[in-house]
């Protein structure tokens, strides 16, 4: 057995990327630490030295997921700076593109909240914080487009987004996720149209 003394990628890094793929594809609860280190070409002590516990590794994976989310969110939004409605719709475009890809497994952060209902789980907290950030970001955008009820519009859009994530797992590429953008358009239209208010409830 020749020692292959691997070069660049440190063990911790290999473990993190491997764990990330497995957690996302199969679910964090379904994957054991033994499988992670085996597929990463590493060993358990390396995992525990670098991350402390499986739960912390999950939290770290979810932080990366949140970062990736903002990366593609910002990328979608950036070309339309100053036009919040166009920004929102551009995001729904990339959302549609992602959620209708075959084998898409939804949002890793939302999935983690389903897998770990205990409020104390470190991964759950990462996910909850991220979704609060997203809600706030959507509110900023709906306020900037002078929606009549920015909070309510933002929440409606968030429902569509989360719905797209999970229905993509339920129905595959021909699911309701494909209707997310047009629904978003209708919601935005309803909240910005000058005509009579179609939804006279309180915000």
């Amino acid at each position: 057995m020749p020692r292959k003394t691997a070069e660049a990628p440190r063990a911790a890094e290999r473990i993190l990327t491997t764990a990330g793929e497995l957690f996302y594809r199969e679910g964090a609860r379904a994957i054991g630490v033994d499988e992670i280190v085996a597929k990463a070409g590493a060993t358990k002590p390396s995992l525990y030295r670098a991350f402390g516990s499986k739960d912390q590794l999950i939290a770290r994976y979810l932080q990366d997921q949140a970062e990736q989310f903002w990366a593609y969110f910002d990328a979608a939004v950036e070309p339309h700076a100053g036009d919040p409605k166009a920004q929102l719709l551009a995001f729904f475009d990339v959302l549609t593109e992602r959620t209708t890809r075959k084998g898409y497994r939804g949002c890793g952060l939302s999935n983690a909240v389903v897998e770990y209902p205990e409020p104390s789980h470190p991964g759950r907290q990462v996910a909850v914080d991220h979704k609060a950030d997203l809600r706030k970001r959507l509110r900023d955008l709906t306020r900037a487009m002078d929606a009549r009820k920015p909070k309510k519009l933002a929440d409606g859009l968030l429902l569509l987004i989360e719905g797209a994530y999970i229905t993509s797992q339920l129905f595959g590429s021909d699911g309701p996720a494909g209707a997310a953008k047009s629904a978003a358009e209708a919601l935005i239209e309803a909240h910005t149209r000058q005509a009579p208010d179609p939804n006279p409830s309180a915000a």
Copy 2:
């Protein structure tokens, strides 16, 4: 061989209800068979004689979840027979009531799909079938209300429903789920208004 129908609480029955509560609250993957039988006051052989395997027990639990769903769906819809728009909104009322309850854990069927991505899992199949039924039911209603694009409207509503389920877990009782009904109203309005079509894409 007349019916057995003794009114005694059979072990299998106790196991099923106990497992149902645990699966729903904690997630199926988080619960072991030992915990189920212990809390049900039964033993493992009773579980395996009655249900064959843990996966089949999960499938059975999900069938019950689907039944319960249709029970409250039909109950909400029944008083407004003949008025599909009122039926839909009545369902969104009970949905809101449920999803804004403290400690609500979302839809057991959607949660199961997140926990079990493998298409072959018997529980997943129950969940996927049920959601296909729901999609069809929504389409029937949107068609009955003469929506311009019944499929697209139904899919938009389904996104809101699923979004409400999971955001209730993410945000608790003050989450976006409270905005589901008004968003549904806006979507319905957009698809049934006589004025210009706000969403000229294909169904």
